[in-house]
């Protein structure tokens, strides 16, 4: 098990110089795609952010005005805050539940049939998940509230209450993704030698103890990898908000993706949307670098 960046063998340009034409040929789609859909947008995105472009009239250069506006826009800061809550709640619960389910899978020797049942929500698009949970959690006819009412607990409008809505969305997406996360953890657990557990059992260690002293430390590299990948995905929360709450109630679920989308494509304020996207990019870039450093740190720990 090595979720690390494997090194390709030394790249001696002198040997087989005939590789260059082949490489160029094989890389044509990727190079073209990178140029058009990554490099060019990077340049264009920054450029648009310095204009007042609205899709309809020609763009006019306005310098850093969009950025100045952004720093005093309470909705922008609210969007960052709401997104942060979402990411922390979603990633935190998804990692813990995913790991828990994976351990359960291993301890109970669960078959692939049961595993695929747990995976089902992950195969369903966010849009559909939003619609189904909107119904399940509805304050009037939703099953969850019917059950809460039946057992005498208080009912809630989970998506419609501004104190609960963002947590609801975070946990709904945890529900959708936890089966997938669990399978990734499970794959990691299976690479741990059973000898370790047997030795621990001989020494009288409880299952709980071997989890903390064997499973968790051995899973550190894969945990870091899952964390990085899920975190990048988690920042992109849009679909559920768009279908289930439309950013509301009030601004309670107006996450950064949704706010940028609305500014750019509904209010046609492309320049302002682009400026926010630049700031978001800077934030994600910083986060990823920090996480990659953490990933490297764990690598050296294990090797």
């Amino acid at each position: 098990m090595k979720p690390t960046l494997m090194k390709a063998p030394p790249n001696r340009a002198t040997w087989r110089s005939s590789d260059v034409p082949t490489a160029l040929l094989y890389l044509t789609p990727a190079l073209l795609g990178f140029a058009v859909f990554y490099a060019w947008p990077l340049f264009r995105g920054v450029q648009i952010s310095l204009t007042d472009w609205n899709l309809l009239s020609p763009a006019e250069w306005i310098g850093a005005a969009n950025y100045q506006k952004l720093f005093t826009d309470p909705l922008f800061w609210n969007a960052l805050k709401v997104t942060a809550i979402y990411v922390v709640v979603n990633i935190g619960s998804q990692m813990i539940l995913g790991l828990g389910i994976a351990v359960l899978m291993q301890r109970l020797r669960i078959g692939t049939g049961t595993q695929s049942a747990i995976l089902l929500p992950w195969l369903i698009p966010n849009v559909t998940v939003a619609i189904v949970t909107l119904f399940m959690l509805d304050p009037n006819v939703g099953f969850v509230n019917e059950v809460l009412d039946y057992i005498g607990a208080s009912t809630h409008s989970f998506y419609g209450n501004s104190d609960l809505a963002i947590y609801t969305i975070a946990l709904v997406n945890t529900w959708r993704n936890m089966g997938y996360t669990a399978l990734l953890f499970y794959a990691g657990i299976q690479t741990i030698s059973p000898d370790l557990y047997e030795a621990a059992a001989l020494d009288g260690a409880s299952g709980w103890r071997s989890f903390w002293s064997i499973t968790l430390p051995m899973l550190r590299p894969i945990t870091a990898l899952i964390l990085v990948v899920s975190m990048i995905g988690s920042f992109q929360i849009f679909d559920t908000v768009s279908v289930a709450t439309d950013g509301g109630p009030g601004n309670a679920t107006r996450v950064i993706y949704f706010y940028i989308y609305q500014k750019s494509f509904e209010e046609l304020n492309m320049g302002y949307g682009a400026a926010m996207a630049v700031v978001l990019f800077a934030l994600i870039f910083t986060f990823s670098l920090l996480q990659l450093r953490a990933l490297r740190a764990t690598e050296s720990d294990v090797n």
């Binding site: 790249n11 189904v132 794959a187 992109q236 994600i284």
Partner: protein, 295 residues
């Protein structure tokens, strides 16, 4: 040594937790299907029975546009329909093209980065990889401007373009596997006079069929789930994806009382294909997903 699971209190608790987990993952979909067979008029009165008291297929009929507008309005809808098979076809086409291109082009690039030798190879790979850090919403604005200026709004070309040519994650993923495959067979084939392309298609790709399947599954689920970009550039019926249509159907729901039964019928129509897929290929999917995180 395989010790049989003993029946102890902790085992019992673990089993109960598992059953509970299965229930919360599967039950909402069962409930969705069940509600799809309840008439809107009975949603309140029949809100708890496991099997609808008066099952009806009126919801499917009106969602699919098989009932008249009057019938549809009487059943609590707003006359809105889903041209289901058209959108399903669009979504299948979109997913198939995305997966085929992503797997092919990523395999070519991954092979290049793992086997061919040229100056700047590893630097270029790092540059590609760093593309993963660009948030999709960031590229979406310039991409929209580009697709618009090309006149590709409401065309498959426009919906597909940003997905096809490069997928940094897929290149990274396949390169890892190619690096782990022994070169000896390749060297032998080379001595026998096989060209690069033959080595790739006859030796490397077959050996990597496991990871290629895994990648195809992950990318297919991702493509099937795509919403933000397709709903921006593909609003015309001829290119509308099922996701986009279902979301629009949900948003057009009357404000007074949502058309729950109709919504659940629409959602069921979208879940059923995945359910069939999972029942047939569940084992394959589960066992191959194990590849993705590890190694």
């Amino acid at each position: 040594m395989k010790n049989k699971p003993r029946i102890t209190v902790s085992r019992l608790i673990e089993r109960i937790v598992l059953v509970f987990l299965l229930l919360i993952t599967v039950f909402p979909f069962f409930w969705m299907l069940r509600t799809a067979f309840v008439a809107n008029a009975n949603i309140f009165s029949d809100s708890m029975s496991l099997i609808p008291k008066e099952p009806t297929i009126v919801n499917f009929k009106r969602v699919l546009g098989l009932s008249t507008t009057e019938e549809s309005l009487a059943a609590g809808g707003n006359g809105q329909q889903l041209d289901f098979f058209l959108y399903l076809g669009n979504s299948l086409l979109f997913t198939a093209v995305v997966v085929a291109c992503q797997v092919t082009f990523s395999a070519l690039a991954a092979y290049t980065f793992s086997r061919l030798r040229f100056r700047g190879r590893d630097a270029l790979f790092t540059v590609f990889l760093s593309g993963m850090m660009i948030p999709p919403i960031f590229s979406m604005l310039p991409n929209f401007a580009l697709v618009r200026s090309l006149g590709w709004i409401d065309s498959f070309a426009g919906i597909l373009a940003p997905y096809l040519l490069i997928t940094p994650f897929a290149i990274f993923f396949l390169r890892q596997f190619f690096l782990g495959i022994s070169r000896e067979v390749e060297e032998a084939a080379r001595i026998d006079g096989a060209g690069r392309f033959q080595i790739l298609t006859r030796i490397v790709l077959p050996m990597a069929s496991g990871p290629l399947t895994t990648l195809a599954i992950i990318q297919a689920v991702g493509a099937w789930n795509e919403y933000m970009w397709p709903q921006l550039v593909g609003r015309d019926d001829s290119v509308k994806l099922l996701n986009v249509a279902v979301a629009a159907f949900a948003k057009s729901s009357p404000n007074s009382q949502p058309d729950w039964a109709g919504l659940m019928a629409a959602a069921s129509l979208q879940v059923i294909p995945m359910l069939i897929l999972l029942i047939i290929f569940g084992k394959k999917i589960v066992s191959s997903l194990g590849f993705s995180g590890v190694k």
